[in-house]
Symmetry: C2
Subunit: 276 residues, 2 copies
């Protein structure tokens, strides 16, 4: 419906959008911005850019550093801490994951991922002993929804309606991920995953990694995210996988139980439990 005409290539942005666009400028590739660079980048005048920077600074989202440039500010760290403290799933998972990683082989990682709207992000990770091959699922990275055990197990438990609209929108990508090109094939393979209650994948995200994904539900059996192992393929024989899978499933159940037992008032003790 809302088709843009070819002539008007520039997206008309509202003021509030531009304010957030300033924040979005701060990336890993470029973590510091001067006001005038930002003004040029966004196509606004210097005074306007100063107004934006000031607002974001007052909010603590950015902060001046030496020279005339700015970086992401203390509010980011503060809000991240809020998530760590108040996200019930994350709170419940910390201890469980700490215990669970002990069972894994060297070079393995344990990941807790959370469904955000229609995206998946790692919110907590625990590394096992020994040298680590790269794990793309680092805390804070958005992950594709259609590849890897971590994501697939979540995908499999989305509402049918959601899946349908995803299929319509991202059909090509879904087909590319090996779900087959038809809605029925997609639906059927997800059904199979759901029935298993877990999924094992090999090298779908990182070469040399085996993933074991298990769903985590809330009280109403709505999917919240997943708990998953990323094992080193070299060290992960069938025996190990078969041993770890039920443990991972049990871990997810533990997380759910702790989460549901926890007092719903989340304020309680503000103290964060940090293992070692």
């Amino acid at each position: 419906m809302a088709q843009k005409q070819t002539a008007d290539f520039e997206t008309r942005e509202s003021s509030g959008d531009r304010l957030l666009a300033v924040l979005a400028l701060f990336t890993i590739e470029r973590s510091e911005w001067t006001v005038e660079d930002a003004a040029a980048q966004l196509g606004v005048s210097a005074p306007t850019a100063y107004r934006y920077f000031k607002r974001l600074t007052v909010a603590g989202l950015i902060s001046p550093v030496s020279g005339a440039s700015y970086t992401l500010g203390p509010a980011i760290i503060q809000m991240d801490r809020q998530i760590q403290i108040s996200d019930p799933m994350l709170r419940a998972a910390r201890g469980v994951m700490h215990d669970l990683i002990g069972h894994a082989a060297e070079g393995s990682a344990l990941l807790l991922c959370r469904l955000f709207h229609d995206r998946v992000m790692c919110v907590h990770q625990v590394l096992g002993r020994g040298p680590q091959a790269p794990v793309s699922y680092e805390r804070g990275r958005l992950m594709p929804l259609f590849r890897g055990a971590t994501s697939k197990i979540i995908l499999a438990h989305l509402q049918l309606r959601t899946l349908k609209s995803l299929f319509e929108r991202d059909g090509a990508e879904i087909a590319a991920a090996g779900f087959g090109g038809t809605w029925d094939a997609f639906r059927t393979s997800l059904g199979a995953i759901r029935r298993d209650g877990f999924i094992v994948t090999r090298g779908e995200i990182d070469a040399g990694r085996v993933g074991i994904g298990v769903p985590v539900f809330d009280k109403d059996r709505t999917i919240l995210g997943s708990l998953s192992f990323a094992l080193s393929e070299a060290r992960a024989g069938t025996a190990l996988i078969e041993r770890l899978t039920p443990l991972t499933v049990a871990g997810a159940r533990d997380i759910e139980r702790i989460m549901n037992d926890a007092p719903s008032s989340q304020v309680s003790s503000a103290r964060l439990r940090v293992a070692r």
Copy 2:
């Protein structure tokens, strides 16, 4: 001109400010908000609140959860990761702190704090072995600028101009923190701290904790933050403190050296994009 009379106590806020005010609603005490609650709280109409929520959602700063409510979103975690990866001081400190904690007694903690504008925040913490008494300086908490070794050592190295304006603004608090009520007394005690190159405090933040604070400077000798120990007072005899202090100072120098040697291009693992 636009002086509000007593009747109109509410600060006239611009649209962009209100957008950020929505974000500020999400606190530890209340980590979930519905659109209509937020609308009521901010005194705007429902459609306007929906517009705000939509913008913040598109930016990933908040995210819908089950029911009609929203929580802080994936962008927060992502940006926190960006800070972790791209803040030069934090990057340099990680290894140093890991090594340093080994020298401490049981129940001690090592903290890296960063000066943000005129506030101090813990950006990294490493806990030692053994049971931990509470440490108020948790990662993500804003700390007072005038109390505790961590903050005082930073305070002592602020620009004279900055100190002067702080003294004018927060004179009472400064006096209460034991710096004496006069500018000269304040200035003199800070000078003494600066000359020592470190500061040891007892129980200024948490009872039963001894703090050892050491400054961290950037290439231009501008204060960036501090490295500090929070020891258990019961276990921290004079001997231990005298042993740890030079180690902490050396640690800070190490951090500075690593920071300055590091390639200025901060893009190591270039991949960050969503994969989608």
